[in-house]
């Protein structure tokens, strides 16, 4: 049974996948609808899916591939389209199996071509082609026609307003069951799984159909046109699935539904000439055009990782955007000790125009002075001759040495950059360190340097009224190319650990190098197992074992059998990246209490973080919040603050609108998490390491 589970999930997901959901329960509901209400249709689809799946397995494709449900939702749709016309008997069975396998091959190949050349999903294009081929081929299959063709009876009719009935029937048409009862059932499935999708389906349908009404002039005709299901699919795909839900994506969804109106009508007229139904071609064309254009224009809120519902995706991206802003390159602080940001990006002196993304560092004492004694000689300056490290891993492509250090107060206008080093980072940019002291450079052109390698000593060469370090990233290899925005991967600001951000002008920064023992403590290895006991309000609840496993993309995760809690050590901190799994799993408490752990814990160190709502809230409430957040991104006030008690223990306080959660984590040196406490308003949870002698 256990081995069957992924197969069943995968098949069920292909049903819910048609409505852009990755929920086996929703898939089961749809499967039951189709089989119970029209056994012919339902079973045909099921047979088609199974044949595609079996073929894929026979080819040796792994479950991870088949988890991407579009591989088999296309055969499913083709099965539906065949089942719509033909009864199940031996003949149609063969036809179904053949078309199932064919559609799978088509999907597999097309999706590879699409994703490689166009970076686009394949959507239901294989279905459109597959079902057209099935329909065209069956023209001449007299035997099939005679034996299997069957008529459709209209299902019991409930009197509904025309627009509502039109909407529900269109929704049903997606599954070749144009009835308002089915439509209602599908809408309920949609609504229970995702309010965002439910809203988009209604809005998309109404937008498209109302425009069609304007053109045709007939309310009746507009709302009884079943090919308008295309508007529903377009709105959902654009508004909630392929773009991250936001007011902008909603607007784009409506625009896309509207522009699909002529296309839908045109394709209906075209295919009718051949006596064929229009299928989902307009949906595919419109969505792919919009996505391709947005992709080319560099639209920033494209979904790269769809989590199963728009709500979950939004949660993921909100968290990701706050925790790891990926827009800018991240580099390491190139100095040691506490430095002062003399001039930041868009600075008041020289960081302007194309050179605005740069930082000048100096060292200042408690009173803010950058020198001791009277500051008349270079040696008086704290920054002078301090080591400078490589902020990136890459190749040194330019080294300029030999320009003298300018005495304090003067500057070399002819060679403003002074002695400098340019390092090419294979991520695609160049890092520049400037004003180095002559004769101190430890690298030469062509050297490969790693992050943290010694480059030279801070000096005062070039346009430098006092010794300081200039750092920027640029787009080209020539000194003075336009600069690029960047963030520092980790640093300390007055005892606060900060990551993936940039200090402001006038702030101090200090590197946060990891402590070796803590690094080892949080270095979890593949196959390691940890046993924990869970107590709720002091009462023993359960005992479970965490295992470390690896995902196909190389990320490691903890699992207790059901959920997956992804983690990684990045630079100077340990992070829980992402959680997938049931809402009841104790893995969530790990994420809640320790979303990130700086690897240099010591008393007084504090840090902030942002948590995904699925970790914090019960499912329904969470989705409600996310629904609101998709309209007003600033609706949520979430603060998660943590501070170290000593080298291995830390506390946290999460305040969420007006609620508070307190956490405590104890690490066992060299052995990982020892104890996690979570105190909520009326509940206290304790996770304790057990199973050790």
């Amino acid at each position: 049974m256990k081995e069957l589970r992924p197969i069943i999930n995968s098949v069920l997901n292909s049903y819910s996948g048609i409505l852009f959901l990755a929920k086996p329960a929703a898939g089961l509901a749809i499967l039951l609808f189709t089989v119970l209400i029209n056994p012919n249709l339902g079973l045909s689809a099921f047979i088609c899916v199974l044949s595609a799946y079996a073929f894929a397995r026979a080819l040796g494709l792994k479950e991870d591939f088949l988890r991407l449900d579009f591989y088999i939702y296309n055969p499913l749709l083709v099965g539906l389209s065949i089942g719509y016309f033909f009864k199940i008997d031996l003949l149609s069975l063969i036809f179904l199996i053949l078309m199932g396998v064919f559609t799978f091959l088509l999907t597999y190949s097309l999706s590879s071509v699409f994703s490689y050349y166009l970076r686009l999903p394949v959507l239901s294009l294989p279905f459109v082609i597959g079902s057209l081929i099935a329909a065209l081929a069956s023209y001449h299959y007299s035997n099939l026609f005679v034996k299997s063709l069957y008529g459709h009876e209209a299902l019991a009719f409930i009197s509904l307003p025309l627009w509502l009935e039109g909407f529900l029937r269109s929704l049903g048409t997606i599954f070749f069951m144009p009835s308002s009862v089915i439509g209602l059932g599908l809408f309920l499935v949609l609504f229970l799984s995702s309010r965002i999708l439910a809203l988009l389906s209604v809005l998309g349908y109404l937008t498209g159909t109302l425009i069609a009404y304007l053109f045709t002039g007939s309310f009746e005709e507009a709302f009884s046109n079943l090919s308008h299901f295309n508007f529903i699919l377009i709105a959902m795909a654009i508004g909630g699935v392929f773009l991250i839900p936001s007011p902008k994506s909603y607007l784009l969804a409506l625009v896309a539904s509207a522009i699909a109106v002529p296309l839908t009508e045109a394709s209906r007229v075209f295919w009718e000439k051949f006596g064929l139904p229009a299928f989902a071609l307009p949906f595919n064309i419109t969505s792919l055009l919009v996505l391709y254009t947005l992709g080319l224009s560099g639209y920033r809120k494209l979904t790269l990782y769809y989590r199963g519902t728009p709500e979950k995706t939004l949660d993921h991206y909100l968290t990701l955007g706050k925790r790891f802003p990926a827009r800018n390159w991240e580099i390491d602080l190139p100095v040691s000790g506490r430095w002062f940001v003399w001039q930041g990006p868009d600075g008041q002196f020289t960081h302007k125009g194309p050179w605005r993304y740069a930082i000048d560092f100096v060292i200042a004492d408690e009173s803010g002075r950058t020198y001791t004694r009277d500051g008349s000689s270079l040696e008086d300056y704290y920054a002078y001759c301090k080591p400078v490290f490589s902020p990136v891993t890459g190749r040194v492509i330019e080294v300029v040495d030999g320009l003298p250090d300018e005495p304090p107060g003067s500057a070399n206008k002819d060679y403003p950059w002074g002695n400098h080093v340019i390092i090419y980072d294979p991520r695609g940019f160049y890092a520049v360190l400037a004003h180095l002291s002559p004769g101190t450079l430890k690298v030469k052109k062509g050297d490969w340097v790693v992050k943290g390698a010694l480059i030279g000593l801070c000096g005062s060469s070039g346009y430098s009224p006092e010794p300081h370090l200039h750092l920027h990233l640029q787009s080209g290899p020539e000194i003075g190319s336009p600069t690029l925005p960047f963030v520092l991967s980790a640093y300390l600001k007055n005892g606060e650990f900060r990551d993936f951000s940039l200090p402001a002008e006038g702030e101090t920064v200090e590197p946060a190098p990891p402590e070796r023992r803590l690094k080892q403590t949080l270095n979890f290895l593949l196959g390691q197992e940890f046993e924990y006991e869970l107590f709720k309000n002091g009462e023993f609840k359960e005992r479970f074992t965490l295992r470390v496993e690896m995902a196909p993309d190389g990320t490691f995760y903890f699992t207790e059998g059901k959920g997956r809690l992804y983690f990684a050590q990045r630079g100077s901190a340990f992070y829980f990246l992402n959680y997938e799994g049931p809402e009841t799993s104790p893995l969530r408490w790990f994420f809640l209490a320790a979303p990130k752990i700086p690897l240099n814990l010591k008393e007084g160190l504090s840090w902030k973080d942002y948590l995904p709502l699925e970790i914090l809230l019960p499912p329904f409430k969470k989705d409600l919040y996310l629904f609101m957040l998709s309209f007003w991104p600033s609706f949520l006030k979430l603060k998660a603050r943590y501070w170290a008690l000593n080298k291995f223990d830390f506390q946290g306080e999460i305040s969420f609108n007006d609620k508070k959660i307190k956490t405590l984590v104890r690490l066992d040196p060299g052995r990982g998490f020892e104890e996690i406490k979570v105190e909520k308003e009326n509940e206290s949870l304790l996770l304790q390491r057990g199973g050790r002698p």
């Binding site: 004492d365 704290y382 080591p387 943290g452 010694l454 070796r516 023992r517």
Partner: protein, 446 residues
């Protein structure tokens, strides 16, 4: 302003020895310490009196921290308790982020009493009593092992607790300076360290996580530290490769000089003592070039003297004026070698609380003890002082208030001039009661 009256004198003219009387005088005057007049201090708290400046302590700590951290990213200062273990002084350094470096049961207990957790204590020293050692193991202190017998002790403790004990090895080596302190720890060049490491690995109860090396005291050669750091890095790599340990810290000990004038050193300290920045640079350079980028062990520095010496002053009063048979003037002060242990190797800076007219002439400063060795300064150049004149001796912050002795007379008060300018007593003067409390008169002698 009217010039103060000066008795007319005739001075032998010496080439290259021309003195501007005025500037020479004002250089020798110290009216106040951190804004508090010397006179007021002496009148309120008595003479002799040790005075510490909180501002100087904190500034010096921050200066050193900034200096060393600028050259190496992971530095920890461990306050050497033996240099000055007055609670107030230790607390100031701990507040600034220093851990504690102790070398005995007493110092260990004192640090714990001050609230320092075990894992923030570096435990050094050639003799660590077994009981204290056991406590240190249980409390997670960083123990730097000095001898094979100590390793045996620790293995026994590890057997009792059932857990591996994490230790540091104290190493002595040739860094090109004299004298070599080779009585502490295990020798590097002879291969002793590696033999000991093999023995430890074979024992299976201990794990080496740190290396420690203390070359000596008042070391005037920055390059010696560079060489020590280089050798420790090489040793660490060898130990990691051969035994699979992770060396988490390299402890370079202390021994950094202060601006004190050593006896036997002709040049003034401003010239003879290299600036601390050179030490930081050599250490940083050696570590950075020897270690893989980004994966840095912690560098522990046990600076004592360099942090505290220049923040301490001793106010003392001329109690008797004498003329020696050879014609030199001599003054008897109320503070002698009983309070100034460091007088045996330093020439202190001697300052007067006010301007005193008259040409400086060579004189001798004696302490109050009835002992021939009680000489604070054999040759000082001072104008003629009258009885009751107060002198300020500095720097005296390091070692004196730990190595002073209760001998012949009482030990005086120690005060701290706070950053706010207030004066707080941080150690009361001794009384007869303090001294006799520990005594016991047997019944038959009463």
């Amino acid at each position: 302003m009217r010039k103060p009256y000066q008795k007319p004198t005739i001075l032998k003219l010496q080439v290259g020895f021309m003195r501007d009387k005025k500037s020479g005088l004002s250089r020798m005057v110290r009216r106040e310490i951190d804004g508090v007049p010397v006179r007021e201090l002496a009148e309120r708290f008595g003479s002799p009196l040790f005075v510490f400046s909180e501002r100087r302590l904190r500034e010096q700590f921050r200066y050193l921290k900034r200096l060393f951290e600028g050259h190496y990213p992971r530095v920890e200062f461990s306050w050497s308790y033996k240099t000055n273990y007055l609670d107030a002084i230790c607390r100031i350094f701990h507040q600034e982020g220093a851990t504690a470096e102790v070398v005995s049961d007493f110092e260990y207990e004192k640090a714990r009493r001050l609230g320092i957790p075990g894992d923030e204590i570096v435990f050094n020293g050639p003799y660590k009593p077994k009981e204290t050692l056991r406590r240190a193991v249980l409390e997670g202190a960083r123990i730097n092992v000095d001898s094979m017998d100590e390793i045996l002790d620790l293995e026994e403790i590890a057997r009792e607790t059932g857990e591996k004990v994490r230790i540091g090895l104290r190493v002595n080596m040739d860094t090109g300076i004299y004298p070599r302190w080779d009585r502490f720890g295990f020798n590097l060049e002879s291969g002793e360290v590696l033999n000991v490491a093999r023995r430890i690995a074979a024992g299976g109860r201990l794990e080496v996580v740190g290396l420690h090396c203390h070359q000596g005291t008042f070391i005037l050669e920055p390059e010696a530290y560079g060489r020590a750091a280089e050798k420790l890095v090489q040793l660490a790599r060898k130990l990691e490769e051969e035994f699979g340990w992770t060396i988490e810290y390299l402890d370079l000990g202390g021994g950094f000089p202060s601006r004190n004038r050593l006896k036997g050193l002709y040049l003034p300290p401003e010239v003879a003592v290299p600036p601390l920045s050179e030490y930081a640079e050599r250490i940083g350079r050696a570590l950075l070039s020897g270690l893989p980028a980004g994966d840095y062990p912690l560098l522990i520095l046990e600076t004592g003297r360099a942090l505290v010496d220049e923040a301490g002053f001793l106010i003392t009063t001329v109690r008797t004026v004498k003329r020696l048979p050879d014609g030199r003037r001599a003054y008897v002060l109320d503070a002698g070698v009983n309070l100034l242990f460091t007088a045996f190797w330093y020439h202190f800076r001697v300052e007067i609380e006010k301007e005193i007219p008259g040409p400086p002439e060579p004189c001798v400063l004696y302490g109050p003890l009835c002992m021939n060795i009680d000489v604070v300064e054999e040759t000082a150049y001072l104008p003629p002082l009258s009885r009751g004149t107060r002198l300020i001796l500095s720097p005296v912050g390091a070692y004196n208030v730990t190595q002073w002795m209760q001998f012949i007379t009482y030990r005086p008060r120690v005060v701290l001039v706070t950053e706010a300018g207030k004066v707080e007593v941080i150690r009361e003067a001794e009384t007869l009661e303090d001294i006799v409390r520990r005594e016991n008169l047997p019944e038959h002698l009463r």
